[in-house]
């Protein structure tokens, strides 16, 4: 199939940036979206045009590196799918496709489609852990955990930290991301010990980074490639209230 691409090009953080039009020819429906961009990039390189920069690494939907807005939807039209796992069979001959970077104040553009997500890192540094050192842990089975709780923790822990939630939210809120980490630990007995401190520190850092607040648009859940559940934000809010009121 043949496609017309409109792609955000921006030389560096200080450049203004603009959309450019490119043709993608002879695209196979078996290709992944990123393979389609590879083909376009090979073509641009040979023509002496600088290829489009985009983040990617594992190309199997788990590292969280890939991050494209496709026709206004974070990670594109397929639900529960990262863009590296999106395949061209979901597009048809003659389509026009608009490709842009994540847009949020806390995620400045570095180049073309690549953004700086280090704000997420700093939120994790603030409290995304259980404070134990290597060595001295008790036997793993000394602490039975109800399967339901463990499964819920796993549901939350599945977050890949890609930032699609922020990119899709009209408030550029990072609450789905933060709540996933908070919920994972809050549901495990090991994590309860620091639960109150953790939620406060992570939320404080999140605010400091310039992310907005949740006003229940549900856009984050809709685009999340790992289908992280919005009720985790509810749990985070409860944890936060408990911590603030000293009831935790």
């Amino acid at each position: 199939m043949n496609l017309t691409l409109y792609v955000w090009r921006q030389k560096n953080a200080s450049d203004k940036g603009k959309m450019e039009r490119y043709d993608a020819r002879d695209i196979s429906s078996h290709m992944s979206f990123l393979e389609m961009l590879d083909v376009v990039n090979e073509d641009l390189t040979e023509k002496g045009i600088e290829p489009i920069a985009f983040d990617h690494d594992c190309r199997e939907g788990i590292c969280g590196m890939c991050s494209l807005m496709i026709n206004g939807i974070a990670h594109g039209p397929e639900p529960g799918t990262t863009v590296c796992q999106l395949h061209m069979r979901h597009f048809k001959d003659g389509d026009s496709i608009y490709i842009e970077p994540w847009r949020a104040r806390a995620f400045p553009v570095i180049k073309d489609l690549i953004v700086d997500r280090s704000a997420f890192e700093r939120i994790q540094h603030a409290g995304g852990f259980i404070s134990i050192n290597t060595g001295g842990a008790p036997d793993a089975n000394a602490l039975p955990i109800a399967k339901k709780k463990a499964d819920l923790a796993m549901d939350a822990a599945a977050c890949i930290g890609c930032g699609a939630c922020v990119a899709s939210c009209p408030n550029a809120s990072a609450m789905l991301f933060v709540s996933a980490k908070v919920t994972q630990f809050a549901n495990l007995p090991q994590g309860r010990i620091e639960a109150a401190e953790r939620v406060q520190k992570m939320v404080a850092q999140m605010d400091l980074e310039g992310f907005g607040n949740c006003t229940n648009h549900y856009e984050c859940e809709a685009v999340c490639p790992k289908e992280i559940n919005i009720r985790f934000i509810g749990q985070m809010n409860r944890e936060f209230m408990k911590a603030k009121t000293g009831l935790g």
């Binding site: 030389k11 560096n12 196979s28 078996h30 290709m31 393979e35 590879d38 083909v39 090979e42 390189t45 040979e46 600088e50 290829p51 920069a53 983040d55 690494d57 594992c58 190309r59 199997e60 939907g61 788990i62 590292c63 969280g64 529960g80 796992q85 395949h87 570095i110 180049k111 690549i114 700086d116 997420f120 890192e121 994790q124 540094h125 409290g127 995304g128 852990f129 404070s131 134990i132 290597t134 060595g135 842990a137 008790p138 036997d139 793993a140 089975n141 039975p144 399967k147 463990a150 499964d151 923790a153 796993m154 822990a157 599945a158 930290g161 994972q184 630990f185 495990l188 090991q190 994590g191």
Partner: protein, 637 residues
Amino acid sequence: MTLDAKIPSGPLAEKWEKHKFEMKLVNPANKRKYSIIVVGSGLAGGSAAASLAELGYNVMCFCYQDSPRRAHSIAAQGGINASKNYQNDGDSTYRLFYDTIKGGDFRSREANVYRLAEVSANIIDQCVAQGVPFAREYGGLLDNRSFGGAQVSRTFYARGQTGQQLLLGAYSALCRQIGKGQVKMFNRAEMLDLVVVDGRTCGIVVRDMINGKVSSYAADAVVLATGGYSNVFYLSTMAKGCNVTAAYRAYKKGALFANPCYTQIHPTCIPVSGDYQSKLTLMSESLRNDGRIWVPKSADDKRAPGDIPEGDRDYYLERKYPSFGNLAPRDISSRSAKEACDEGRGVGETGLGVYLDFADAIGRLGENVIRERYGNLFHMYEKITGENPYKAPMRIYPALHYTMGGLWVDYNLESNLPGLFVLGEANFSDHGANRLGASALMQGLADGYFVAPYTMGNWLARAGVSEVKADHAEFKKAETDVTGRTKKLLAINGKRTVDSFHRELGLIMWENCGMARNEAGLKKALEQIPKLREEFWQNVLVPGENEELNQSLERAGRVADYLEFGEVVCQDALTRTESCGGHFREESQTKEGEAMRDDKHFTHVSAWEFKGVGKAPELHKEQLKFENVELATRSYK
């Protein structure tokens, strides 16, 4: 050069305890005087950086992604082994040790492997304490599954995302140390050289991938935990950015590269669908617990899988290896798939595929149970192929997946360059000629949490604080070399893209140094690779500049290294005329087509020394001594 593995004396089971006691310690108040560079933030690097920082050392950690949490360990699906014997099915430290030695086709060091088995149980404890949500039984205790090459259930898992969860555990420990200022983290930073002064490793040279700035970092020790080199084959299950660059540049500075020809081809990956293919996707080995592998009995049978009756199917692994069946080790399963396809019985459009069928398991357990166990893998398969594996069998084919070879290290995980430690997939240490499933995660975390923190102290206590700082002439020289190389790549301005060279190299490697190797093919590859390299340096087209984020330039540097390193792999494969584990030499097989070792001539580690680009490297041998297990023919029948 004599290679001293520094294996402690005494009975196997007491070596590590004894060694821990004998090693020198750094007094707690003195630890802050030392700084350590850790390159890599995967399971090995992340766990090492966090654990070393917890001890009080000043750590600098580097990774090429935008976050340490994105290291390729994140992609591991199936699980991690540990000899907990929670299932009461006869597991023990000794059994895990024996399975690993046998699985590696008797080409690994007894002492290292025993230590690995010994600390495996601690890893699970550590991870649970960090909040890693392993799968659990209804009673609240941990669940296990089985993996290839073992007859006990010792694999711990977190759905189909075990690597992700273990890495997030190590990452959380790392974040805690970054927050405290004990680890300084450098993201989007690529190590491009190692600096050695007067025989001691002093630091590294790094390119900032955002602005192209080249800088030097000095420390009292350097840890490389930079992962495997499967991408020398272009198509593999590795991430696009995985590279041999860090390890290879250390090799060029004198570190020995051990057993580079030991590469693992994983039997269950999604088959190649076209020339544009950029990587291959693994379907976890755990699927073989419930999936049955088959091809039609007859080469002419082109019916849809559902229309082929039982009697016309060949469940070839169950037939050939009745006691291990679909859980035969990876090398054996991969070769069997290749044989079936070579006989024309392969399935799918390309004929390069076999079926992995869940119909029986779904009938026996119900679709829900299968969904619970493998839901995300089935989902991934459907996304990539557009086919529903609950309804029709998956099609799979072997692909490059793991590299057992790596930089040579002694028992302390220290290379032949003093002060350079190598952990995780980047070293060669524990898996011999073939790695068992779920053992790489175990090894990476064993190295990082439980081995390096001890052996590092011993090195620092003996060597003392290094006098060499980052303004030393050797650092300046290395910076000049790195910058010169970058300029050269950008100046060629030829006609072919970096990827086109990489693909061509990959094909040469896959055809001649892939699942089956022979003298003629390897010699051919050794002629083709230098020619391709020469063309690369005359005709590659690298657009853009150095002083900006430039992905073509990053790739060009890595491919340039692969174009040299590929030769080392083929040289090693050519020299080792026996078959063992993942290294199958067609000249060395039994009548039934099984790999035939040559213990008389090859019970050694081949460690290669760099002698110049285009010059044959020099071979050094470390004899392997087996004092506890008897060298046997590996049988999974």
